[in-house]
Symmetry: C2
Subunit: 117 residues, 2 copies
Amino acid sequence: MNVPANLAEKLTTFTERFSPRTVAVYNDNDIMVAKLEGPYHWHKHDDTDDFFLVLRGTLDIELRDRTIRLNPGEVFVVPKGVEHRPVAHGEVHILLIEPTGTPNSGDKATAAPRIVA
Amino acid sequence: MNVPANLAEKLTTFTERFSPRTVAVYNDNDIMVAKLEGPYHWHKHDDTDDFFLVLRGTLDIELRDRTIRLNPGEVFVVPKGVEHRPVAHGEVHILLIEPTGTPNSGDKATAAPRIVA
């Protein structure tokens, strides 16, 4: 991983939605890119905040009491323990950061495998 | 901080070089934007990796044995303990992540104060 990662280039290497790819590692966190489309499911992470940076498209992060709308170049951190549902309007590309080993669905049984791009 | 941050907008709120501004907090890390211009000095962080994402311009991260060139949309993580010198070609905008309280110069005596944008 000790090389630079071009995010756009990494995003050309896969088409799967909601399947993050690790592009770098920072202090036991995975720096990942992902393609989203449509709604994900409601979930939360009890042990970690959830970092989103939108690279392309428009992403709503629904919280139980409000919706955060993110356009390219916008960042939002969902605090640990807070239920949220990402809803992607069309195809959306994001950079996300989570501690290595965090299940993306909030549940190890349903989590996507962690894949290095 | 529990609101979205538009990185370009945050970058319009200051002009100082090498003076990172915190735009969000993730698990005791500061998510920051900074403007760089010209060379910084050689330094290292013994306790943390150093995450760079270039948003605008061209940044060289000189290591003792090679130089990493980063253009917009490119990420590099300098591993902890590795000496490096950022050199910005003209005005460069970056997103960086460091544990809250990390001195940007690697030395508390010369570090820029941490400022919330």
